[in-house]
């Protein structure tokens, strides 16, 4: 196939809404939404601050099957409030993961997937959002003993703030080239430390530092995929196929400290980090 044919044959994952993403990843015809729009579980805090609510608060929880196995997907909607995590949207994710853990207590299995697309906590909901992000962290750690918790960062919002920690706690992370993963977003860094520290308008620089290709190359994420629904699904299925590892990335404290010790903060750029860290991804 020519490059043109390859491109035309692709079915974009990034362009889908959260609901469409969940539906596209699950086995055909198995999508069933829990707490959907007509359950009207929306934020009680946004309207007080003159912000229009969304009827699902920006998170879609879907049950279904993945590769024939029972599955639950928590998908964050990038277009609503930058995928920010509020009290309700965050609780939906945490509760879905906690219920998934209970399946294992009952002797059943389920495959949990989180579709990240978030700037982190929703500032209008402050501490309530932060508290529930901590619950998401705890739920991932509890669940990943039983089954891989697979995260996907699609783009174009990326995954930042407290939710970047949630992503880092996942057993495996799938990223597109367009996706970004980082603690503080580039705009925040520029605002706090000045344009001399980081020019957030320099897209080539930003993506070379925190984009999917670099994150996979240095072993902070696992699978790089093109913006194609089929590729994302294949990568998620492959991650479940590898099962629960002997130790998770976030448990390998000594190894990460050793990796950090090799870095010279005065002379670091994306290329030298790759040279330092490439090859020792697990």
């Amino acid at each position: 196939m020519s490059a043109h044919d390859v491109f035309i044959a692709r079915h974009s994952f990034i362009e889908l809404t959260a609901r469409e993403r969940a539906r596209a990843l699950l086995d055909p015809g198995t999508f069933r939404e829990l707490l959907g729009p007509f359950d009207r579980l929306e934020s009680p805090w946004l309207a007080m601050q003159n912000v229009v609510c969304q009827s699902d608060d920006g998170v879609v929880i879907a049950r279904g099957a993945l590769g024939g196995e029972p599955a639950v997907i928590a998908a964050i909607e990038p277009a609503f409030q930058g995928g920010s995590i509020g009290e309700v949207s965050g609780t939906k994710i945490a509760a879905a993961l906690e219920l998934a853990a209970r399946e294992f207590d009952a002797g059943r299995t389920i495959r949990p997937v989180i579709l990240f697309e978030t700037g982190g906590v929703r500032l209008q909901e402050a501490n309530l959002g932060l508290a529930v992000i901590a619950e998401i962290h705890a739920a991932i750690v509890a669940l990943r003993r039983h089954v891989p918790v697979v995260g996907v960062i699609g783009g174009m919002v990326g995954c930042f703030g407290g939710m970047s920690l949630a992503a880092a706690l996942c057993t495996e992370l799938v990223m597109t080239r367009q996706a970004r993963l980082g603690m503080n977003g580039p705009e925040v860094i520029e605002e706090e430390a000045g344009i001399g520290e980081l020019d957030s308008g320099d897209r080539r620089l930003i993506w070379s530092m925190i984009g999917g290709e670099e994150r996979v190359a240095v072993g902070l994420a696992d699978t790089l995929v093109e913006d194609d629904t089929g590729e994302v699904r294949d990568a998620v299925l492959a991650a479940f196929g590898r099962g629960v590892p002997a130790s998770h990335r976030s448990e390998q404290v000594e190894r990460q400290l050793e990796r950090l010790a090799r870095v010279n903060p005065d002379a670091i750029d994306p290329e030298s980090l790759r040279a330092l860290w490439q090859g020792d991804a697990r």
Binding site: V52, C53, A79, Q81
Partner: protein
């Protein structure tokens, strides 16, 4: 943020509910469900204040061709009239019998 409500006459019941769109920049979310009355009811929450007359024009035109007894909730984040009309048409299509995209619950 502004809350607006309208009522329109209806001639037939609505088969089932439908949900389309997201509350993203320049877009809106539409929840269409059977109103349970003889009328259609439209409830709008919009991020843009002072455009009641435009909403009225858009809905007058929409209801000149739609006669379902639906409750239509619009959560709007600055959609243009064209986008509003498209989303309304999409919601109606999804709520008609025989459409697999509709919400059967």
């Amino acid at each position: 943020m502004e809350n607006i409500r309208y009522e329109y006459p209806a001639a037939r019941p609505v088969a089932r509910r439908a949900h389309v769109g997201v509350v993203g920049s320049g877009d809106l979310e539409v929840l269409l469900s059977p109103s349970g009355t003889q009328h259609a009811e439209v409830v709008i929450r919009t991020s843009v204040d002072g455009y009641g007359h435009v909403w009225k024009s858009v809905l007058d035109r929409f209801f000149s061709r739609y006669d379902g007894a639906a409750k239509i909730e619009l959560n709007d984040f600055g959609a243009t009239p064209g986008v509003v009309m498209l989303r309304l048409a999409e919601a109606v299509e999804a709520s008609e019998p025989g459409n697999a995209q509709g919400d059967r619950r």
